[in-house]
Structures are given as structure tokens and as C-alpha cells.
């Protein structure tokens, strides 16, 4: 890092594209895009709202946008970032705040040796809300159905209204006592 280092001071606001071949330290604001072959340092107080492509990035301030680094990205304890990170090395320190996607390139995951077909599917982007698990409420065992008297054979169809012979259905158990158990969980 013997070569020069540009500092964008606290009161500076840059809007537009920024390209370069030296380290850049941001204490002020940059909006637009940044392309560097060296290291971008966003200091506490510095704000970058940009598409960023660098070799290294150290975020101690605020970074909004996508960050592509050929080497590494580090979010320090004061760093705040919203956006996606693509870099072979990504470090997130305790205290940093981050929301977005992280991609460190292709990685081989060991397959579990269960001999069962892996069932993991990439989950939808959105995580499901946490919901308290539903514990099965203890229910009384279902009572054996009361022995139903064999349905009396239907009276022969009335001669007055000759119906087409139907399959004789057992009468519905009307008013069979179904217990409704209301149990408060807790």
C-alpha cells in the first residue's frame, strides 16, 4: 500500500462513476458506481450508495448496493450494509448489520451418507415466519362406535309412489354424541 491513497472527506458528495487504480477511503458520500483495482475503505460516517466492483472492501460505514470483490469483503463491527456480496472471502464481524445475499463461489458440500436421496431443495428466498409449533393436543381416544342396531329393513316401497329401488342405506346416526373437546393450550 505504498502507493497513493485517495480520501473522500466528510463534507464531500460524489455522484456518478468513480474508477481508479489506488486505494480509496470514503468518509463522505458517494452515489453511483465505483470500480477499483485496489481496496475500498468505507469509514464510520462514510456512505456509499453504489454498485461497487473492487479487489477488497472494508465496510465500517454504510454501504447500500451490490458489492463484487475479487478478493475479500469485510464488514467491521460498525459496518452496515444492504445489498448482495460476491467475493471469495467474506467476513462479517460481531456487531455488523447486513441484509442480502452472500456468494463465495461454488462450494462442494459433503453429501450426507444416509443412502437416502437428498431432499434439500433451495428454499424460497423468503424465510417463513416463525410460528410456534403446534403440539398435538391430547385427545381422548375415540370411543368405539356404539353398536349400531342393524338398520331395520326398509319398508317395502309404498305402492302409491313407486320409487326406483335404491340401495338401502343405514339411517344416519342422528344426534350421535360427538364430544367436542375444547382445550386451551398452555
Amino acid at each position: 500500500m505504498a502507493d497513493s491513497n485517495t480520501v473522500v472527506g466528510e463534507s464531500i458528495l460524489i455522484k456518478g462513476n468513480l474508477e481508479g487504480d489506488e486505494d480509496l477511503t470514503v468518509q463522505g458520500h458517494i452515489e453511483g458506481s465505483i470500480q477499483l483495482h485496489k481496496t475500498l475503505i468505507i469509514e464510520p460516517g462514510g456512505v456509499v450508495k453504489a454498485e461497487v466492483s473492487v479487489a477488497n472492501a472494508v465496510v465500517s460505514g454504510i454501504m447500500v448496493g451490490n458489492l463484487l470483490a475479487s478478493d475479500s469483503v469485510e464488514l467491521t463491527e460498525t459496518g452496515r450494509m444492504v445489498g448482495d456480496i460476491r467475493a471469495p472471502r467474506v467476513i462479517i464481524n460481531e456487531g455488523a448489520l447486513f441484509r442480502g445475499q452472500v456468494d463465495m463461489g461454488d462450494l462442494e458440500m459433503p453429501r450426507p451418507s444416509t443412502g437416502v436421496k437428498p431432499s434439500y431443495r433451495p428454499a424460497p428466498r423468503r424465510m417463513e415466519p416463525t410460528r410456534p409449533r403446534l403440539e398435538p393436543v391430547a385427545r381422548p381416544a375415540p370411543k368405539p362406535a356404539p353398536p349400531k342396531a342393524a338398520p331395520p329393513p326398509k319398508a317395502p316401497p309404498k305402492p302409491a309412489r313407486p320409487e326406483p329401488t335404491k340401495v338401502v342405506k343405514p339411517p344416519k346416526a342422528v344426534g350421535s354424541k360427538k364430544k367436542v373437546v375444547v382445550k386451551k393450550k398452555r
Partner: protein, 103 residues
């Protein structure tokens, strides 16, 4: 006195409980704990995880929902989404997925 799933153990199914759990073997399925989950170097987890804390030195494939903290150590490898108020990724860890630190 943590529960340890040893190296040679392979579990395919759901694990739930109120104690810390250390995984050195293989677990596939689903893990819900009220305490901490430790995936050690030899541990392989392919599961959705719902716990308070997770510490990963082995490999995890799946989504993690933690009420406190997720820490990916330098040997840790993970593919999946993480949602937790505190998320730490150490240098050397490998990760691909979404991170959400919404509180």
C-alpha cells in the same frame, strides 16, 4: 452435559429438544432446539434449523432461523439462508445464501 451425536451416527428425521446439541455425525431432516446447536468439524447437517444459537465448524445445507446468533467459524461451510439478529462469518468460512439480520 451436552447431547452429542457421534461421528458414526447418521440420523434421518427430526430432532427437537431443550438442551444443547453437538453434532459430530450426520443429520438429515429438521432440527428444532430451544438452546444451542454446535456442528463440529466432522458434522454434516442437511436440515432446516430452528434454534437459539448455532455455531458451525462443519457443514450445513439448509435454512437457519435463530433467535439469537449464528456463527460460521473459519472451518464452517454453509449453503442456505440465515435469519438471526446476530450473524458472524469468520475469515475462511464458506457461505452461499441469504442473510437477514432484521430485528
Amino acid at each position: 452435559m451436552a447431547n452429542v451425536i457421534g461421528r458414526s451416527i447418521v440420523i434421518d428425521g427430526e430432532i427437537s429438544g431443550d438442551e444443547d446439541l453437538v453434532i459430530q455425525g450426520t443429520v438429515k431432516g429438521k432440527i428444532s432446539l430451544k438452546e444451542s446447536l454446535y456442528v463440529e468439524n466432522s458434522g454434516v447437517v442437511e436440515a432446516d434449523i430452528d434454534t437459539q444459537n448455532v455455531e458451525i465448524s462443519g457443514s450445513v445445507t439448509g435454512n437457519i432461523l435463530a433467535s439469537e446468533k449464528v456463527e460460521l467459524k473459519s472451518d464452517g461451510r454453509m449453503v442456505g439462508d440465515i435469519k438471526a439478529p446476530r450473524i458472524l462469518i469468520a475469515d475462511g468460512a464458506v457461505f452461499k445464501g441469504n442473510v437477514d439480520m432484521d430485528r
